[in-house]
């Protein structure tokens, strides 16, 4: 009940935020110098051609009419036609979305898989070599620009050692899975895995480091709480004390931070995609900005904004799940 009510309220707020994003994105187009027409028109187009193109694209209507049109179209999931690709912007964006999602999810999995055990071990073996190692790693991890990390990984693992491919996606997870399920061939998954490994490490390192730090600090703080002593006095196995009791409470601040850091993940994905030539939303946005493909820019930013809002609602729900004391006012 509590959860349902909460989700409803958060969804309403989320819609408001998305509307804000849409409006801001729309305005962005009008405060920026340079006309869209310059990018649509051929290199040596005549003024008449330019005029006609402007009319075709509705660029000569008053701003509020364009805004109203835009909102109405958006409600029908129509983001306009990409100027660059000549296809509906939504098609282009949703074709790219799986690649970015795969990367983001893989990076998150990498991060969670390594960071939480590492943080726990580090906190429970304080001042031992493993703790110094983990602390050092997390410090370097949050201080290393991921574009540089990606380059170094390509150089060492891809080029010098030749263990993994240096770039590209080749096959999506969906088709790879289909291949496995319907034809029983593992090659798809294998290729997919080989290609996503370096990018997801590159994207995940910052998060791994960040969560390791948070887990370690949180665990240390929680381990000092009285209730830990109580659980020990009860005779609970030590692992249960750490993972069930302490880690659970440590998760609460971690979840908060993760929600706030989602933007970083998406931003990091832009860079990672650019370094690894990964055909996701990030590279699309850079291309779109460079060619002033407004429908594409706006569409991508809105999709990202919606994603951000959705993720944060999920994060808040998780937060509430982990922290029963929270009542959302």
């Amino acid at each position: 009940m509590r959860l349902t009510r909460f989700l409803l309220r958060r969804t309403a707020q989320g819609i408001l935020v998305v509307w804000g994003v849409i409006t801001l994105v729309f305005l962005l187009r009008f405060i920026t110098p340079g006309s869209t027409i310059d990018f649509v028109a051929p290199l040596d187009a005549s003024p008449e051609l330019r005029q006609r193109l402007a009319e075709d694209l509705g660029l000569n209507k008053p701003i509020y009419v364009q805004y109203a049109d835009y909102i109405v179209n958006l409600l029908q999931l129509d983001m306009g036609n990409s100027l660059l690709k000549g296809r509906p912007a939504s098609d282009v964006i949703f074709a790219r979305l799986p690649a970015t999602l795969e990367l983001a999810i893989a990076a998150t999995i990498v991060a969670i898989l390594f960071s939480i055990p590492l943080g726990v071990i580090s906190a429970t073996r304080r001042h031992q070599p493993v703790d110094y190692g983990a602390t050092g790693f997390s410090l370097i991890g949050i201080s290393t620009p991921n574009f540089w990390l990606g380059i170094m990984l390509i150089l060492i693992v891809g080029v010098n050692l030749g263990w993994l491919p240096t770039s590209r996606r080749i096959i999506g997870f969906g088709p790879a899975l289909e291949l496995l399920v319907f034809e029983g061939r593992t090659i798809g998954i294998q290729v997919w895995f080989e290609h996503i490994l370096l990018p997801s490490i590159t994207l995940g390192t910052y998060f791994t480091a960040l969560i390791t730090r948070l887990t370690r600090n949180g665990m240390l703080e929680e381990l000092g709480q009285s209730y830990v002593e109580v659980t020990r006095a009860k005779g609970l196995p030590e692992t249960l004390v750490k993972y069930k009791h302490v880690l659970r409470n440590t998760m609460i601040p971690i979840i908060t931070v993760l929600g706030l850091q989602m933007g970083t993940l998406i931003g990091g994905a832009v860079i990672t995609e650019s370094v690894f030539n990964w055909p996701g939303l990030g590279t699309l946005i850079i291309d779109a900005i460079n060619s002033r493909d407004w429908p594409l820019i706006q569409g991508s930013l809105i999709v990202i904004g919606v994603g951000f809002v959705v993720i944060n609602i999920v994060v808040d729900a998780l937060y509430m799940y982990f922290n029963p004391q929270v009542t959302f006012e």
Binding site: Q225, V230, T239, K244, R248
Partner: protein
């Protein structure tokens, strides 16, 4: 009397090694507790009571360490089980708890020993239901008793894989706790007088009041049906009427189950109400011990006398210790001389007090004794130290 002794502590010292120096929180402490009695330890804040309690169940964490002594616990079955693997720890029916591995010791917690902590609010994990936490304690006991003959089985930390830990971190209701344990938790809550336990069992600590939490804490401590219950200031955080209720519950349960209670408090009223025998603690040492009557009617140590003298009416529950003149001593090793630690506050301090006093038997029951020269010697005002003696010699 030794037949009845269940816990025998000798020469126990617990020290903390901090950046400011070594702190001698418990100093060469010896005592014996008999089966089925309520033994009280009373003393001012900072006298080492809580550390003593934690030392008894080996819950001292870094930078603290138990540096010497033995804690012998009488349990014939346990002794039989351990005799082979840990011969050094076993002496007849007694097992030295400090000489067995942590793993085996952990198996004793909850089932042989249990503890009630002083601040109920912070003693429960805020993100798990109260019932869940009590049921855990039941589960420890359940798993242990499912194979009562083998201590090794009962002390092994069960077949608990990493996967189920992860599951436990995410899904608290899965994994460790069985539904039988949960039912037992409801019974326990009822036993300690929580109204509406079927509903309360699924509530979180922040939904309980302080008094209810302390009762839940009692329920949790009793869940493993322990032989020895260590209660560290079980009522301090509560207001007077609720204090009385909780104490009544404890007393009733003790009479019902016959368990041994080690009650630690700074409240003489509580002692008077609950205890059979009493130890008075000062600066990490038991300075006087004896039966309730010995201590209250025939106090020997000037400190005990000071404590009692400051209470207008012993029968009034909640009567609090009035401060004795002077400061509670620092337990920093560097600042502790080799003397009677109470000497600088003692109105009868004499030159003899500048040396460490031995324990002298005192008038009263067999085990009435005090760590004071005066217990065995008459007071002679002529040997008294000048009043400002310690002020001068104290470092600025």
């Amino acid at each position: 009397m030794s037949d009845d002794v269940i816990l025998r502590v000798s020469d126990l010292s617990t020290r903390f090694f901090t950046t400011d120096g070594q702190i001698n929180a418990v100093e060469s402490l010896s005592l014996e507790i008999e089966e089925g009695e309520v033994f009280g330890i009373v003393g001012e804040s900072g006298s080492g009571k809580s550390v003593t309690a934690r030392s008894l169940i080996r819950l001292i964490e870094s930078p603290g360490r138990i540096t010497s002594g033995t804690i012998e616990y009488r349990d014939a079955d346990l002794a039989d089980d351990l005799r082979e693997d840990h011969p050094g720890a076993v002496d007849g029916e007694f097992v030295d708890l400090l000489a067995i591995p942590e793993k085996i010791h952990r198996g004793l917690r909850g089932t042989s020993f249990s503890m009630i902590f002083q601040d109920p609010e912070s003693s429960f994990n805020p993100s798990l239901t109260v019932g869940e936490q009590i049921a855990e304690a039941v589960e420890v006991q359940r798993r242990a008793s499912s194979n009562p003959r083998s201590t090794r089985a009962r002390t092994r930390s069960s077949e608990y894989s990493l996967r189920s830990y992860a599951a436990a971190a995410v899904l608290p209701s899965r994994g460790y706790v069985s539904s039988e344990s949960k039912d037992r938790a409801i019974e326990l809550l009822q036993q300690v007088g929580i109204p509406d336990p079927e509903q309360r069992v699924d509530e979180y600590p922040h939904e309980y009041s302080g008094g209810m939490l302390q009762r839940a804490m009692v329920a949790q401590a009793l869940a493993g049906e322990p032989d020895v219950l260590v209660a560290d200031e079980p009522t301090t955080a509560l207001d007077v009427t609720i204090q009385a209720q909780v104490l009544d519950i404890l007393r009733d349960l003790q009479e019902e189950t016959g368990m041994t209670i080690l009650l630690i408090t700074h409240n003489l009223g509580v002692i008077a109400r609950m205890c059979d025998r009493v130890g008075v603690m000062y600066a990490g040492e038991i300075v006087e011990r004896g039966s309730l009557g010995d201590i209250f009617d025939r106090p020997t140590h000037p400190y005990t006398q000071g404590l009692l003298g400051s209470i207008p009416d012993l029968d009034a529950a909640g009567g609090r210790l009035q401060p004795i003149g002077g400061n509670v001593p620092s337990l920093l090793d560097a600042e502790m001389g080799d003397r009677c630690y109470f000497a600088d506050r003692c109105p009868k301090a004499m030159e003899e007090c500048l040396e460490k006093p031995a324990e002298y038997p005192a008038e009263g029951t067999d085990d009435h004794a005090a760590q004071c020269y005066l217990a065995d010697h008459p007071y002679e005002a002529s040997q008294a130290l000048p009043e400002d003696y310690f002020e001068e010699s104290e470092p600025p």
